[in-house]
């Protein structure tokens, strides 16, 4: 497996791959002013093959936490360890060999084909001016196959559907052969079929390749269905961390999301959330 080939003995010993230890962060317009937004100390741990979903309303600190995990920003306090290494002290190159980030897409300046896009994932393994080897091409082709997108290989990125594009972006992340896969709202703008398809793929890949997956999402039910652990954030505080059944409690979710809802247990044993319409004044919300 691509992921385990680069992992160290350290990870096998403890079996914890990702360890988020009391990380906090603060944004401020300038240093003398009070911060505009604070993420209070948050912690969780994840094993290889596990999917962690970060949930919370807008401006609760989800994306900030993801950036801190990715090592793109230095936490105010605490640290994020990936196989024992502090993510934000790694060089960009080494970091990209271990952590792949699937972001909300940014527009392309000049069009490229899907296979060119996926090959970009091999960049962290090249130095200076290098041309892709046969091995790189094989890895990229395999990545496309793993997300079921071989047929898109020769298509232009700006001429495929949102769901197809999200698969190609995921394939690029796979060709980085990471230990940790981070996704920032990957199901945004996708229809329900594409959402489920993408998450099924993610579930399968996490199991097969032993990736640790951290995904930021707004989809409560999909998160409950696919995640092993939930991190619930509210106004920069991590309110609860645990398996979906432990986190999905009606009062807690109602308080966090400010909307009446009910929580049932589905046949799979995973909780299911139903948003209740406000009964007295249906049009006021």
């Amino acid at each position: 497996m691509p992921a385990s080939s680069t992992s160290t003995d350290h990870s096998r010993a403890s079996d914890i791959r990702l360890s988020v230890e009391q990380v906090s962060y603060a944004y401020s317009a300038n240093p003398s002013q009070a911060p505009l937004f604070t993420l209070e100390a948050s912690s969780f741990q994840a094993r290889p093959g596990e999917i962690v979903a970060i949930l919370g309303p807008n401006a609760s600190g989800k994306s900030t936490l993801l950036k801190l995990i990715a090592g793109a920003q230095q936490p105010l306090s605490g640290r994020v360890l990936l196989d024992g290494f502090v993510t934000n002290s790694l060089t960009p190159r080494i970091r990209a060999q271990r952590i792949a980030m699937v972001q909300q897409e940014s527009p392309l300046l000049f069009p490229s084909r899907a296979w060119e896009f996926v090959l970009q994932g091999r960049h962290p393994y090249s130095r200076y001016l290098r041309f892709e080897s046969r091995e790189d091409v094989a890895i990229a082709r395999n990545a496309l196959a793993q997300v079921g997108a071989e047929h898109l290989s020769d298509r232009w990125m700006d001429q495929i559907s949102g769901g197809e594009k999200q698969r190609v972006i995921l394939a690029r992340a796979l060709s980085q052969q990471p230990l940790l896969l981070l996704l920032d709202e990957p199901t945004l703008h996708l229809d329900i079929g594409s959402q489920v398809g993408l998450l099924d793929t993610l579930r399968r890949l996490a199991a097969e390749n032993r990736y640790t997956v951290v995904v930021v999402t707004h989809e409560l039910n999909l998160a409950a269905q696919y995640a092993d652990q939930i991190v619930l954030l509210h106004r920069g505080k991590s309110l609860r961390v645990g398996p979906p059944a432990a986190v999905y409690q009606r009062e807690l979710l109602e308080q966090v999301f400010q909307t009446p809802l009910s929580v049932e247990s589905s046949p799979s044993g995973r909780p299911r959330v139903t948003i209740l319409p406000a009964t007295d004044t249906p049009s006021s919300r």
Binding site: A70, A72, T91, P92, R93, I94, R95, A96, Q97, I99, A100, M101, Q103, S106, L108, L109, F110, P111, S112, W115, E116, L119, Q120, G121, H123, P124, S126, Y128, L129, R130, F131, E132, D136, V137, A140, R141, S153, Q176
Partner: protein, 347 residues
């Protein structure tokens, strides 16, 4: 999947090099003094073998001593401007960026003029005196791109139209200062005329030391830019994306800004502010060879050389026996294309 290979790059560059060679031969042949193709070949052979004394006639001496150096100058200037343009377009994520539009060429001109004014007071040894203009031009370029970059930001992000407007406004402001300086100092013989600094001109003779500075500077800056080619490919997708794919964004940005400023500074110090080459050439190359910088940078260098040799040949032949500044020719071709690209992008 057919990824770009080194052989593929060599093959395409080879094809362009053949085109450049043909253009150079035609450029050598055209001019006020008629030359036969056979005589030209014989002369070039003599020069290559180092037997300059065996040149057949005085007319051919004109070709070798006057036309050839000018063409070589056009090649290096064109290549420098096109590579600088390619680099600026990638860094600023703006397909309309180029040294001239961003005001960097004007800043370079001003830097060179100021250096020429200061130079006599520095009492430098002769070897260093030749370096003063290119260094001044380089510093002018670095200062201008820094200013335009900061003016072109809005809420911490580079804003495409703000950037272009800042560039155009800086260019006209700097041009006004250049006009003021040239007019006040018109008595001095070593300062070139207004049209040289504002429009670009390849007709002047070059100091021999400056030739070496130009050639070596061009090679170093282009090679350095070329080593970042794959990083530039990813920077086009945005700085955040590039960082997550392992690009050391800050280092690449700094290195390429300096290299592109150096290329602009070198070109401007020997030829003034020739416009549109850095804008037009990368676009045409992108249409032909695709937007991968591993192919775009070398083909732009060759394409820029071809474009400026053609433009300069036209500049000295269309109104012969007098001459147009080469910048007038590139502007005649470049301005309409700029408008076309602008309309296509914002339509």
């Amino acid at each position: 999947m057919r990824p770009l290979t080194f052989q593929g790059v060599l093959l395409r560059c080879g094809a362009l090099a053949v085109v450049l060679f043909i253009v150079v031969v035609i450029a050598l042949k055209l001019g006020a003094v008629p030359v036969s193709l056979y005589g030209l070949g014989l002369d070039l052979l003599h020069v290559l073998l180092g037997k300059t004394s065996e040149l057949s006639s005085n007319y051919d001496m004109i070709v070798i001593d006057i036309r050839l150096p000018r063409i070589l100058l056009a090649i290096i200037v064109g290549a420098s401007l096109a590579v600088a343009g390619t680099a600026f377009q990638a860094l600023l994520r703006n397909p309309l960026a180029d040294p001239y539009v961003l005001g960097v060429s004007s800043g370079s001109s001003l830097g060179a003029i100021l250096a020429l004014i200061v130079e006599p007071h520095l009492a430098l040894p002769l070897a260093f005196a030749a370096l003063v203009t290119p260094v001044g031009a380089f510093l002018g370029a670095v200062a201008t791109i820094a200013v335009v970059y900061f003016l072109g930001r809005r809420e911490g992000q580079i804003d495409s139209s703000m950037l272009l407007l800042s560039g155009i406004i800086s260019a006209s402001f700097l041009s006004a200062i250049i006009m003021f300086l040239i007019t006040t100092l018109s008595g001095r013989g070593d300062l070139r005329g207004m049209s040289f600094w504002l429009m670009g001109d390849l007709s002047g003779a070059l100091q021999p030391t400056l030739r070496w500075v130009l050639g070596i500077g061009f090679l170093v800056a282009t090679c350095v830019t070329y080593t970042t080619a794959s990083d530039l490919n990813l920077l086009l997708a945005g700085e955040k994306e590039a960082m997550h794919l392992g690009v050391d964004v800050r280092r690449v940005r700094l290195v390429v800004y300096i290299a592109a400023s150096l290329l602009t500074g070198l070109a401007v110090s020997v030829s003034g502010a020739i416009g549109y080459v850095g804008l037009l050439v990368p676009h045409v190359m992108r249409l032909i060879f695709g937007s991968d910088h591993r192919i775009l940078i070398p083909t732009s260098a060759l394409g820029g050389a071809i474009a400026v040799v053609i433009a300069d040949t036209l500049a000295r032949t269309v109104v012969a026996p007098s001459e147009l500044p080469v910048g007038a020719m590139t502007a005649l071709a470049g301005a309409p294309l700029f408008i076309y690209l602008l309309r296509r992008k914002f339509a």
